[in-house]
């Protein structure tokens, strides 16, 4: 399988910054992921939602990037939530305890709604 390049787009959904991720989250995703986060918080949303639906590979370096992003968000007192993770990566987020610090939701609406209600 050829490597699919990482990409990220940002949009706003009910006051929440949504980052649509796609491709592979590995070392090569570093700059684009952080740039997407920085763009997503320009409007100072309280919550950022990561959409993993089109992500087909996350390696340990990718996990580290997500940890770094989460650390940055926590420093800025923002909440990070996620949806669209496959069962396999849900398991990895549980094993690494990322899911203890980042709510994991089945779809975008529940992620955003949960955000609004908190």
């Amino acid at each position: 399988m050829p490597a699919s390049e990482f990409g990220a787009e940002i949009r706003e959904h009910d006051g929440t910054g949504v980052i649509d991720l796609r491709g592979e989250i590995n070392l090569g995703a570093d700059q684009a992921l952080n740039a997407a986060y920085d763009a997503a918080v320009l409007g100072d949303p309280r919550t950022v939602v990561l959409n993993f639906a089109d992500v087909d590979y996350i390696n340990s370096t990718g996990i580290a990037l997500i940890v770094g992003l989460l650390a940055k968000a926590r420093k800025e007192h923002r909440t990070v939530r996620a949806f669209g993770l496959s069962e396999h990566y849900r398991q990895i987020f549980a094993i690494t305890r990322l899911s203890d610090f980042m709510g994991i939701y089945a779809d975008e609406d529940s992620a955003v709604t949960a955000t609004v209600s908190t």
Partner: protein, 533 residues
């Protein structure tokens, strides 16, 4: 009067009181004239105490003291002594003969000398400390170097691979203590498909032990294929070693010969730990009497034999396991090793279990006392073919991103084995992470160094072996990352690879030799609720 150093007739060696105790040695006086011979001052000489408590230059002419050193100084022509005292310690003396003008030392001279001593003493003390520290560093470096040499010798003579015997499973574990003891083990190919198995321990540590180990290893390698019978081999090795053995050293050694076709194991023992056998009926011991090698000439060794039934596992072990102590100085003990062997169903599981129990017993803070060597020899249960089918063998270059190639090829190789989707995904992640580690850490991202990957399967498991060329560096222990610390910015966000691998597969095994690391990822073909211990 000037402070020209040429006026000083003699400057004795600097020294802390402890160094004075050994006598005052000649000083490096390339820039200073030395005319008088060195004078030894014993630590109990009353002159030492006198100088230590004096407030300035001491005129020896008027000094009344029952002191041998005083006499020696006078005989050496010393007239005036200026003690160098730093923080209450006498660290040196400035000794002066008569003035060239033949006049007495004046009050101004004394004041100048006292001022000079006051400034010189701290500087001399600093120089002494620097020199002392340099000597300590040199000594540490010498010891480290000796340690490296001992490790190198020892690694050179340890087997690089385990014998592959149809119907048998052989595993080995070796971990040197920091000081490097003299443990060794070996497998020797013998006529008629037989295999010689050696586990030994040289008394003493470091380079001497490593050299004796190397000699013993070479003699065994030379004699075993010719003589075969364990008792004869040990008798011969003993004869050859006795003449070579340094004083106070000897070698304990268990030598066994296995006929893999019949399960017959012949063995003789030169004072080494008794092997244990896990059988259907419990634990048995393989006892045979014999003196350690290299102590006395003309020794004979009892030879015995046992037949290993399918499912039996033999443990050969060195002192480092049973004789390990915990913080209360209790010993791990042979009964515990025997009991754990009795619970074994598989050699590798037994080794893992022994090491875990040992770690729990000793605790995290104590350094390993002695080398630990464990060798297991298991006869596979009847009906378990144990034969591995090779599904794939390939290499990837050490370039970032090539773990994806490895993942895809492994996935293709195991496609027909019926791994369910979730377990396949876990294996793929583990393969990717292990390959990344091999590329980045083992092969240092050098594209010309290959990562070798093989995929094999037997009746119960699929195994992916990933080998890099970084054998000189030990594989790190698997640690659970501290995500709180990472999120707080106290630790790097990285460091997930090994942890992920361990959590993805059913078993994770590692092997290191001089040139390679191999990580073996084991996935059971069916996830059993009572998966192996």
């Amino acid at each position: 009067m000037s402070a020209n150093p040429s006026r000083f007739r003699r400057i004795l060696r600097r020294g802390t009181p402890a160094r004075l105790a050994g006598g005052v040695q000649p000083e490096d006086t390339r820039s200073l004239p030395v005319e008088a011979p060195p004078v030894d001052i014993q630590p109990n000489d009353p002159l030492v105490g006198y100088f230590q408590s004096s407030t300035g230059a001491v005129d020896l002419g008027s000094l009344e003291l029952d002191s041998a050193a005083l006499e020696h100084l006078r005989e050496a022509g010393v007239q005036m002594v200026v003690p160098l005292v730093s923080q209450g310690d006498l660290i040196g003396l400035v000794n002066l003969g008569p003035r060239r003008s033949e006049q007495d030392y004046s009050a101004d001279d004394r004041k100048l000398l006292n001022d000079l001593a006051g400034h010189a003493a701290p500087a001399v003390r600093v120089a002494q400390l620097v020199r002392q520290q340099e000597a300590e560093v040199r000594e540490r470096e010498r010891m480290e170097q000796e340690l490296r040499v001992a490790q190198l010798i020892q690694q050179q003579f340890l087997p690089h691979e385990l014998p592959e015997l149809p119907g048998w499973h052989v595993s080995a574990y070796y971990k040197p203590a920091r000081a490097v003891g003299g443990d060794f083990y070996d497998f020797i190919e013998l006529p008629d498909g037989q295999v010689g198995i050696v586990v030994g321990d040289v008394t003493d540590k470091g380079v001497p032990a490593a050299l004796v180990m190397a000699t013993t290893h070479s003699i065994l390698r030379a004699e075993a294929p010719r003589l075969v019978a364990p008792s004869e081999v040990l008798t011969r090795v003993n004869e050859l070693l006795v003449d070579e053995m340094p004083a106070h050293m000897f070698v304990t050694c268990l030598y066994a010969v296995l006929n893999p076709a019949t399960g017959q194991l012949r063995y003789a023992n030169a004072g080494h730990n008794v092997p244990y056998v896990s059988t259907e009926d419990g634990v048995t011991e393989l006892r045979a009497t014999g003196m350690p090698l290299g102590l006395l000439p003309g020794m004979e060794y009892e030879e015995k034999q046992a037949t290993l039934a399918p499912g039996d596992t033999v443990l050969l072990h060195s002192d480092g396991l049973a004789e390990a102590h915990n913080g209360e100085r209790e010993m791990f003990g042979f009964p515990r090793v025997a009991a754990l062997t009795g619970e074994a169903t598989d050699g590798e599981v037994l080794i893992d279990r022994l090491l875990k129990e040992l770690a729990d017993f000793v605790g995290p803070d104590l350094e390993q006392e002695d080398d630990i060597t464990l060798v297991t020899l298991g006869r596979r249960p009847a009906g378990e073919a144990g034969q591995e089918r090779r599904l794939a063998a390939f290499e990837v270059a050490s370039e970032e991103g090539n773990e994806r190639l490895a993942i895809d090829q492994v996935a293709e190789a195991v496609a027909g084995l019926g791994l369910d989707g979730a377990r396949l995904e876990r294996l793929k992640t583990a393969v990717g992470e292990a390959t990344m580690n091999a590329i980045e850490h083992g092969n240092s991202n050098r594209p010309e160094l290959p990562v070798e990957i093989s995929v094999v399967a037997d009746r119960t498991d699929v195994k992916v072996r990933i080998t890099d060329q970084g054998g000189e560096r030990p594989l790190p222990e698997v640690e659970t990352p501290d995500i709180e610390a990472k999120l707080a910015g106290l630790q790097t966000p990285r460091g997930w690879g090994l942890f992920l691998i361990e959590n993805m597969v059913d078993e994770l095994r590692t092997a290191v030799d001089e040139h390679h690391h191999t990580i073996e990822l084991v996935m059971h073909l069916k996830e059993a609720p009572d998966a192996r211990i």
